[in-house]
Symmetry: C2
Subunit: 235 residues, 2 copies
Amino acid sequence: MRHDFKKKSKVLLIDDNYEHLVGIRELLNLEGTFDVVGIATTVTVGLNLIKKYQPDIVLLDMNMPDKDGLQGIIEISKLDMGTKVLALSGYDDADLIFRAMKIGAKGYVLKTMASAQLIYAIEEVLNGKIYLPLALSSRFFEYFQQSFREEIAKQDSNEENLLSYLTQREEEVLELLTQGVTYKGVAGKLFISETTVKTHVNNIFQKLQVNDRTQAVLYAINNGFLTKKGVLTGR
Amino acid sequence: MRHDFKKKSKVLLIDDNYEHLVGIRELLNLEGTFDVVGIATTVTVGLNLIKKYQPDIVLLDMNMPDKDGLQGIIEISKLDMGTKVLALSGYDDADLIFRAMKIGAKGYVLKTMASAQLIYAIEEVLNGKIYLPLALSSRFFEYFQQSFREEIAKQDSNEENLLSYLTQREEEVLELLTQGVTYKGVAGKLFISETTVKTHVNNIFQKLQVNDRTQAVLYAINNGFLTKKGVLTGR
DNA sequence: CTTTTTATAGACCATTCGGTCTAAATCCTA
DNA sequence: TAGGATTTAGACCGAATGGTCTATAAAAAG
């Protein structure tokens, strides 16, 4: 399903570089299928224009003087108007790309890109797709995998993961501990005596080599206990 | 920099469907630039072949009988031989794609794809790149953004986040609590009396509406306290 | 220049938690 | 079936934690 042909798509531009701003506006106007409803050189002004004109898409420069471009994306999405954000930047900073995509940008393009590519990116995003140039998506994936590397290393290391020494029952107890339940509470939920819970908990401490419940909970969280349980699925 | 021309790249195939396995082998042999050093119909056998032949790349079917394909990726990377994994699957399951990429797959291709595309994907991965067909990378990004949506929602909701009521000092104390430090420990680290720490902690409990330190720590973790502090950056 | 907030700290007490020891019933395995 | 692991549970004690109240000095807000 391609986007609506009858109405021109409403576009809003936010960039602190006025020359660039006007340049893009001219480019989009020449294209004929876009209606640039507003331009802004600050995020704050841009947000007000978005509220007023309800554009379909916003081209947002990541390097803004008044506010962080990332914060801009968050605030636009908080308006909850379904406005799509295409991030613009001069640099192919992997971390920036990752964070922009993470908080909901529909695409990320470099200012150095050919104008035809920019047009294409805008159209793709308007059609509900996500646009990342090949080079940037590579950077993205590298960063993505890197950021999960340590996390994975912990979870898959069956040999070093002290959690694997826990018995079934101890896991159940630990799971309740990670929900902030007290001895009494655990006893009630598992239908066993409070003393028994204490015994289990003490054994857990021994196995995880910690001294108190807080440390046990932290160990569990930092070593994939919850993700294994499916409590935090999707992460 | 393209990959080495002098030596053929060593490829290993793991797929429980023998017909498919042989088909791909023929395809790669015909291509002439690949050396299929082994084929396996189970992950376990595949792992042994990898140890023996040290292939440059492994084409790994995600839908295996003996072990999960995801587990296969993890175990291959645990061999720590730099073996690249190209995931094969019959379905474009967003969750599966996401998880495969998360744990380090260098690419993901559908079995229904044209053989020329498969060849291309293998070459890209061998050249150190990451290959995802456009359609799949869209699915990936959708899933990616979806999985971070709730997390973001919490962190940016300044209005509902009880953490914002904490004073500077209380935040410092809470940060130490999230490291499993005791009253005595906090007192020592902040150079204040133990009583003072208790006062702060009690105030924190009031503000976060919890009853004990474990619950406070859990609230902090679940509401972006650590990520704001930059402790878990990159996530 | 007041008022409020924040940071500090003590006293007191009840509750919870953690450590250790013992022990019985059950389950699993060799 | 004998031995080991698991789950259950009690007793006892000291240490840590949580609740409440009061109070002072400094800092921030008005």
